[in-house]
């Protein structure tokens, strides 16, 4: 995106000689957009910063109290850790699967059909995906008929049923790992991966098609195995695109709200920053806390964007 930006700005400068109406007319065309942006984006961002330093109903300033609470209370610490788990595993899995599927589907004749099947989940809402996967994860106690696909498969192999969206200890072994390494968190992340792998795959597949065939052929002629072609040629040449896809997914992981809200409502220690913020707004009516959580989300997103910009300038 940023490279595209600078390129476009350059092309605009070259156009300086064209007939141009007076700048007053330009501002008139910009006015509706700027009004919306000022009222619904810029003012709220500034106001949320202010609110985050105020008490529950924004009647008095209380300094950095809300931020101190965010980083010291157990609930918010866990939510922050859950977000870290989301952004690492969700991104890693979706990008990894996306690369593999882009390479594999590019080698068969039914490529577009296979890619469409994997991309389709991007079309539906997180809410619908939540229902679909709640059904896949459905759990009945041992001895009862399992209507969820995973537990039915598991019990048919003699394994006990698992309450995937509730259980925190590791499935089947019962091992207890520290927060956020909980079974239910991973179950939720898998839903995100199901939805977003198609995105990673489509973008990476387009970039893969841009790699000159001669390079790959030359390597093969020189005796490189397919494995070496993948690791030494395709992957390095894809890395700028991988970076873009990864940053996009990290931002999705940070903002993640819907999947958690629909599937567990943040219960059983699955809260993330966005769901906690919603609860602070509507359950606890503490706008100061909610504001602080929003600011933390914004501050976490800015470096991700900056890393991306810097990568492109280098």
């Amino acid at each position: 995106m940023p490279r595209l930006l600078t390129k476009l700005l350059e092309s605009n400068r070259q156009r300086a000689g064209r007939p141009s109406p007076r700048s007053l007319v330009a501002w008139l065309w910009l006015l509706p957009a700027l009004a919306f942006i000022a009222v619904f984006l810029i003012y709220p961002v500034v106001d949320t910063f202010r609110i985050s330093f105020m008490n529950a109903d924004s009647t008095a300033y209380i300094g950095i109290g809300n931020y101190v609470h965010v980083f010291t209370s157990r609930a918010t610490q866990d939510a922050l850790l859950n977000n870290v788990l989301w952004l690492s595993f969700f991104t890693l899995l979706a990008v990894g699967l996306g690369v593999v599927l882009a390479v594999l589907t590019g080698r068969v004749r039914y490529e577009s059909l296979a890619k469409a099947a994997i991309f389709i989940p991007m079309a539906i809402s997180f809410v619908a995906a939540g229902v679909i996967w709640k059904f896949v994860y459905a759990y009945s106690p041992e001895g009862f008929s399992q209507i969820g696909l995973i537990n039915a498969t598991g019990t048919s192999m003699g394994l006990p049923p698992v309450a995937w969206l509730v259980q925190q200890q590791i499935a089947y072994t019962g091992q207890v790992l520290p927060t956020p390494l909980h079974t239910n968190n991973f179950a939720l992340i898998l839903v995100g991966v199901w939805m977003w792998t198609g995105f990673a795959m489509v973008i990476l597949s387009a970039s893969l098609k841009g790699i000159p065939v001669e390079i790959i052929e030359a390597a093969r002629v020189d005796g490189a195995s397919e494995w070496q072609v993948f690791w030494r040629i395709l992957l390095p040449m894809l890395s700028p695109t991988i970076a873009v896809v990864a940053t996009t997914l990290i931002i999705q992981a940070l903002k993640n709200f819907d999947i958690v809200w629909v599937m567990t409502a943040g219960n059983f220690n699955t809260d993330v920053v966005a769901t906690l913020m919603y609860k602070q707004m509507f359950n606890f009516r503490h706008f100061g806390q909610a504001g602080a959580l929003a600011v933390i989300l914004l501050l976490a997103m800015i470096p991700v964007m900056l890393i991306n910009v810097r990568r492109f300038r280098a």
């Binding site: 476009l8 141009s20 330009a26 961002v45 296979a114």
Partner: protein
């Protein structure tokens, strides 16, 4: 079938070569087919279940539905449309999504026109500033906008949510349209100016028709973004009679968590329009969705 064509016999070298090639590529095909099946199965299970009687869904897995005697029904859809506000919610989703798509694209089009084709001081800086707003998470705006809408009594109204969605959609829409407009042939616009066409005329008669591909992708992206949105509707539209499907389904999940006959039918109703768009306009769809993913 022509008899004259020589059928490859099982012993011919050509057939053996083809067989060998197939054998060496078999693992590749197997992996792809397994992944595709894995990806489709969850949604397929939902679709099948939505046509099964409640007692069947609750007692047996959906994969047993293919054993005779078949027991399929449309009752789940009838029930959920009539009794659980899904019919009204479908309409609400449309009432919310259509203006929330048209208004931002029009407003963004005006701004993109100015950014791409007019000269004014600070233009490049302002454009970069608007695009930078893509990074702002919606959460950062929820509290002040909620208070603002409450002040003008627009909480729980359709115009309130139209305004919010318009603003949220603008940075990306301006970014996309300006890029497209700026790449249009310069001579075309210059000759239109020389012919004395007004800006408005050039915008609606020249720029918009020429930008149909970009506008199509953007329309699909923005429409689906609003159609699939849960958070914005939850926060600004706190009136159950005006809830879009996402909010209604979310409520069904929390109050009827195990009534799968309702949940599966409701979820499928909400998926129909996005799926239809996907199959009808796949190219614009993929372009719009992948380009829009950068939206913060």
């Amino acid at each position: 079938m022509s008899e004259a064509v020589e059928q490859p016999s099982p012993d011919s070298p050509g057939f053996r070569r083809a067989l060998k090639k197939l054998a060496s590529r078999l693992p590749l095909h197997t992996v792809i087919v397994i992944v595709v099946l894995l990806w489709m199965t969850p949604a397929f299970g939902l679709l099948i279940s939505s046509f099964r009687p409640p007692s069947e869904i609750a007692s047996t897995g959906w994969w047993t539905a293919f054993q005779t005697p078949f027991k399929f029904t449309l009752d789940n859809y009838r029930t959920v449309l009539a009794q659980n506000r899904m019919g009204q919610s479908f309409l609400n989703s449309l009432i919310i999504s259509v203006p929330s798509t048209v208004i931002p694209i029009l407003v963004a089009g005006f701004a993109a026109f100015a950014f791409a084709w007019m000269k004014f001081p600070g233009r490049d800086f302002l454009f970069i500033f608007v695009v930078a707003l893509l990074v702002v998470p919606i959460q950062m705006t929820l509290i002040p906008v909620l208070r603002l809408l409450a002040d003008v009594r627009l909480v729980g109204t359709f115009p309130g949510i139209w305004l919010a969605h318009t603003a949220y959609g603008l940075p990306f829409a301006i970014f996309l349209l300006r890029n497209f407009f700026a790449a249009l042939p310069r001579e075309l616009l210059e000759s239109a100016y020389l012919d004395g066409a007004s800006n408005l005329r050039i915008f609606f008669r020249l720029i918009f028709p020429l930008s149909v591909p970009a506008i199509a992708s953007l329309t699909i992206f923005q429409f689906l973004w609003v159609w699939n949105d849960l958070l914005v509707a939850l926060v600004y539209l706190q009136d159950p009679s005006k809830s879009p499907m996402t909010v209604t389904i979310n409520n069904l999940v929390s109050s009827f968590g195990t009534q799968w006959q309702l949940l599966t039918a409701a979820a499928f109703i909400s998926m129909m329009l996005p799926l239809a768009l996907f199959f009808a306009l796949q190219r614009y769809f993929v372009e719009g969705i992948t380009a829009g993913a950068i939206k913060g």
